[in-house]
Amino acid sequence: MIEIKNIHAKVAGGDTEILKGINLTINPGEVHAIMGPNGSGKSTLSKIIAGHPEYEVTEGEILYESNFKKTNILDLEPEERAREGIFLAFQYPVEIPGVNTSVFLRAAFNEICKHQGAEEMDTLDFDEYIRSKMKLLEMDEKFITRPVNEDFSGGEKKRNEILQMAVLNPRFAVLDETDSGLDIDSMRIVSDGVNKLKAKGNAQLVITHYQRLLNYIVPDFVHILIDGKIVKSEGKELALAVEEKGYDWLIK
């Protein structure tokens, strides 16, 4: 579904290379996890996939396959990538004061409908649709009438990210440290939500610091990212090894 080929990247206008040649192929139906110490480039990778203007890709390409056609998404704007079914659950979800969550979600949802040539949903139908998704995440109904992420607790913000994922139904989702700052109950709910959204045609890339999350969202592959490079890729048992031994043994 997505092929990341030899990606080198730095902060736009900066000198220091953060990603130093990432290669990663993810097929439909798979769940991949990326682990790594602080500053290894995990979040940078997620932002590059979503198209954050803060980063500049100096080399490499990201090929995304949809409708039997491969596109280098680096040429696309963030909203175009989103419409193609790429979703990023932010590590730090942004507060949008005054903008009602359901208005925001409906606008986003209808953009995707428009893109797919489907009919847009009216407020009432959408309301029903969103409520069904909220049930999935055990969310309070009051949630959607509040401004996006404003005065949300850390856990609520993360749940809101997964709600958006549920509503927009992406083909490829990147979850950037969705577990950080969550207590165990919230993590269970969020993970359940994510697992329920898993489907044959979808793929997920889970970025995390802790092995804990991977007990709930079980990956097919675990990659260790250190200093801008993937140094090891194995099955889910790699996460346990890292949990136990740390990262030092992986640096040669």
Partner: protein, 491 residues
């Protein structure tokens, strides 16, 4: 500056002109029309000349002269939160009208086609065939009203809607009774100046028990250079009447600063309601802050009657400097005052705006919702006063003043004055600041919306309480206007 050459302004052109791709001021054109201006300068002879041109009765001239004499004793106020270049009041021309206007147009057919074309281009068609349905328009071009639509329809229900000049000639008793009753000529420097030299404006009288079937509207256009615009609007709503009034304004792109010192007075009697909406888009100067209108306006309403209501809604998106405080004097028991405002400044614009709610009567209530958006290197100030007088038993006020900053070279200030002189009063004031920044834009865009959609979403969210107060078509226009102004500043 060229004459309008497009022979037929088709719909496509209008749509093209509305396209949001550019921040350019689309109303910046100039109409090359022969004008009749009086020489620059300000003295009693000039005022007599203006009065004569308008064929005014002597009481009007006397009032003007009194105002002028008072003005000469006043000093220009220096307290606002901005500086502006000195205004040479002797260098301005206080009257500029399209040639041969002395008689005034008898009907729309007699109006100079060039003028009709100008207003067409501004989106305000005046001619019988094309005029807007549901809205009666009084079109003011420089110093004079060039025409008022739908007059006959309004006459049927007894509503008087005409230019101030006509009102002075045809309804002197009403003008005499109400003009200056809310904003006396001695009120402030610019009100005194206006009272001395005002050239035209709109007059609107809603008789007892009548709800106006149409929205009434005045469109102000400054065209001539070296002049200012000093119009006066007076709205009187008799018992149990209602009217919704709209105001729009534009001016050509020019290097000089032009002064717009208007006065608007509203009087509501028992159970009457007036809703006054403004979308102000005067030319604001260029990116370096050269040129633009000085918009120094005194707007005030008096809820004279019991249970009456005055509501101001303004979207201030233009002018080099906006300096005004649409206010309400809540005199009648149970009366209500409202102020809903969005003020946007970008480039080097300055705005110092807000409201005054003066509670005098018992059980009076007021609401203030102010949204300031500052971008680029502009300054945006909310300044407001809520005053509960000792007589105002059980007065209520709710105020909310929010600011949004776009970029870090601009500033947002909030100066609310709250004076409570009656212990039965309840008032609540809230203010906050928020931002529109690259992270938010990216977040929204990563959910599939484009730049335009993202700005629109944020602006709509920030201003929704104000936009919902505007008549539908104004609201759409206002959102587009703000989006267009902000596009270059975000991201």
């Amino acid at each position: 500056m060229s004459k309008i050459t497009e022979e037929n302004l088709s719909n496509e052109d209008t749509i093209a002109a509305n396209k949001l791709s550019s921040r350019e001021y689309k109303y910046g054109f100039y109409t090359d029309i022969e004008t009749d201006s009086i020489p620059a300068g300000l003295n009693e002879d000039i005022i007599k000349m203006i009065s004569e041109k308008k064929k005014e009765p002597s009481w009007m001239l006397e009032w003007r002269l009194k105002a002028y004499r008072h003005w000469t004793t006043l000093k220009e106020p220096k307290w606002p939160n901005f500086k502006y270049g000195p205004i040479d009041y002797q260098a301005l021309s206080y009257y500029s009208a399209p040639k041969n206007f002395e008689e005034g147009p008898k009907s729309m057919d007699e109006v100079d086609p060039e003028l009709i074309k100008t207003f067409d281009r501004l989106g305000i068609p005046l001619s019988e065939q094309k005029r807007l349905t549901g809205v009666a328009v009084d079109a003011v071009f420089d110093s004079v009203s060039v025409g008022t639509t739908h007059q006959s329809e309004l006459e049927k229900v007894g509503i008087i809607f005409c230019s101030m000049t006509e009102a002075i000639q045809n309804h002197p008793e009403l003008v005499k009774k109400y003009m200056g009753s809310v904003v006396p000529y001695s009120d402030n420097y610019f009100a005194a100046l206006n009272s001395a030299v005002f050239s035209d404006g709109s007059f609107c009288y809603i008789p007892k028990g009548v709800r106006s079937p149409l929205e009434l509207s005045t469109y102000f256009r400054i065209n001539a250079s070296g002049s200012g615009q000093f119009e006066r609007t007076l709205i009187v709503a008799e018992e149990s009447s209602f009217v919704s009034y709209l105001e729009g304004c534009t001016a050509p792109t020019r290097d000089e600063n032009q002064l717009h010192a208007a006065v608007v007075e509203i009087v509501t009697l028992d159970n009457a309601e007036v809703k006054y909406s403004t979308v102000q888009n005067w030319y604001a100067g260029n990116e370096q802050g050269v040129g633009g209108i000085y918009n120094f306006v005194t707007k005030r309403g008096k809820c004279a009657g019991k249970n009456s209501k005055i509501s101001w809604t303004q979207v201030e998106a233009g002018s080099a400097i906006t300096w005004k405080y649409p206010s309400v004097i809540l005199q009648g028991d149970g009366s209500t005052g409202e102020f809903y405002s969005v003020a946007l400044t970008n480039n080097r614009m300055e705005a110092d705006t807000g409201t005054k709610m003066i509670h005098i009567g018992k059980n009076t209530s007021s609401t203030i919702i102010s949204k300031g958006i500052s971008a680029d290197e502009s300054n945006n100030t909310y300044r407001g006063l809520v005053k509960i007088m000792p007589s105002a038993e059980n007065a209520r006020n709710y105020s909310q003043c929010d600011s949004m900053l776009v970029g870090n070279k601009c500033s947002a200030n909030t100066f609310p004055y709250i004076e409570v002189n009656n212990s039965s009063a309840t008032m609540e004031h809230e203010a906050s600041t928020s931002k529109i920044n690259a992270d938010q834009m990216f977040y929204i865009m990563s959910r599939g919306l484009d730049m335009e959609g993202a700005i629109s979403l944020i602006i709509n969210g920030f201003c929704k309480e104000v936009f919902k107060e505007l008549p539908m078509e104004f609201s759409v226009e206002a959102v587009k206007l703000l989006e267009m102004k902000l596009e270059g500043s975000v991201g």
